[in-house]
Subunit: 121 residues, 2 copies
DNA sequence: TGATTTGCTATCATATAGGATAGTACTATC
DNA sequence: GATAGTACTATCCTATATGATAGCAAATCA
């Protein structure tokens, strides 16, 4: 009957969106050209702005600044300011940031198999 | 350290890039607003162009067509044309496409914990 | 006859990501 | 006094993603 079908369909669509949302959230956190390299640079230990910049070829100050803010807003990294010399600001990974490790590793494994499949051999 | 397998020489820029590449590949495959909903729609069974379109609110023919092509190029889906009436074209998920399931599940799990951490509670 | 369906493609417009370049406050050093 | 280093911010520009709208071939339906 029409009403039943319609409701069932709605339920399915909503249920799907609800399932997809967290996946999108996770993808968004890693989205863009620089967030991954920044996280990885920091995974080796706390670093200053210029240190990160030097380790990531091609990144501009503007993008580094912007992405660091995003990562901090998502609580993946922490910013520490030392009232010193010329400014000293240190960034480091949080526990929450480290928890991304497993996801990144899964992405890497799948990416490798994909590369073999598509690009060949 | 935490984000990647620890190795002595892992610290070099080249080695890092090599490790990051497959992760970027995987992210790119899922990138954009529509690929995930399309894949999920097809994960319930083969569907025609218009069927997918009807199941995904807001998608335009242009974007659906474009994303289907990308997904097919990445061998995540297959396109089958039936020489019939008004055109009949059926899309379905490949084994390779199904292999994304594990990655998506990891993204979903992390996304849920992220949501709890950032938005809620 | 004219309208409708299907699986697209083409054209035009806008929003956003990202790059290039310059500048700033403050201090230390030459 | 001039220069350099640090951690940014501001401005301007381009490329890409996405959206809105229209059209099209061929057959079927009213």
């Amino acid at each position: 009957m029409a009403l039943f079908e319609k409701r069932a369909e709605l339920h399915t669509t909503q249920e799907c969106s609800r399932q997809i949302m967290p996946v999108r959230d996770a993808l968004e956190v890693l989205n863009g050209r620089w967030k991954l390299p920044i996280l990885i640079a920091l995974s080796f230990g706390a670093k200053r702005f210029k240190e990160i910049s030097r380790e990531i070829p091609g990144i501009t100050d503007k993008m580094l600044s912007k992405e660091l803010k995003m990562l901090e807003a998502n609580q993946l990294i922490i910013r520490q300011v030392f009232d010193d010399f010329p400014p000293v600001v240190e960034y480091s990974i949080t526990k929450h940031g480290e928890s991304l490790g497993k996801v990144i590793e899964e992405l890497r494994i799948w990416g490798l198999s994909h590369r073999k499949k598509i690009i060949g051999k």
